[in-house]
Symmetry: C2
Subunit: 117 residues, 2 copies
């Protein structure tokens, strides 16, 4: 007989809320344009018009993307005259992609291996 369910759902150990919080952040990161903007912002603050040109989408689209990032607490904004300047609220996120990229490279290697078979 197969071993079954040694671990039951333990809300103390795996509090549902924790993963909802995390998912909110991960969702905010789950779009190429937003990631592009974060990468650019890692080098310094930028106004919406610059980011719009960088991303190459409609200004309203970019504005909404920025709202998502702000809502998640990943960026913050300040007003400078008529412009809104966005900047990273934390720089620790940029480092995390080193790890992610490791996974990606690993995937690639396996794909190539699979193709070779």
């Amino acid at each position: 007989m197969a071993m079954k369910a040694l671990i039951k759902c333990n809300s103390k150990r795996y509090p549902r809320q924790r993963y909802e919080f995390r998912a909110r952040i991960a969702k905010a990161l789950a779009h190429p344009s937003r990631l592009l903007m974060l990468d650019a912002l890692a080098e310094g603050e930028m106004c919406v018009c610059e980011l719009t040109e960088l991303v190459g989408a409609d200004q309203s689209t970019v504005s909404k993307h920025l709202a998502v990032l702000k809502q998640a607490g990943i960026v913050e904004d300040r007003k400078d005259g008529v412009m809104t300047i966005y900047s990273l609220k934390t720089h620790c996120l940029s480092g995390m992609w080193k790890c992610i990229e490791t996974v990606l490279k690993e995937n690639l290697k396996e794909q190539q291996k699979a193709l070779g078979e």
Copy 2:
């Protein structure tokens, strides 16, 4: 007159593909149940039946979540008789949440400050 677009979209500096790759990973992380499973898997491999009980969703739902994680290259699976055992392909992801949680705490502090005003 406002300063405009000092930085133009530089595909060398900000290659579109990089952010699509990253978004694929971020999307795979963008669900509470998947994050819960990853946290559990960080402590050791588990079969689908255990994960199903842990998550508390339909078995088919969990199976599809696992497929997403596998597709993203975050987990891998092996067969053991009738069971499929899933395990983390890399452990470096767990560390990344320390950073994310920092952001979350920062958000919370600001919310509290805002409420106090």
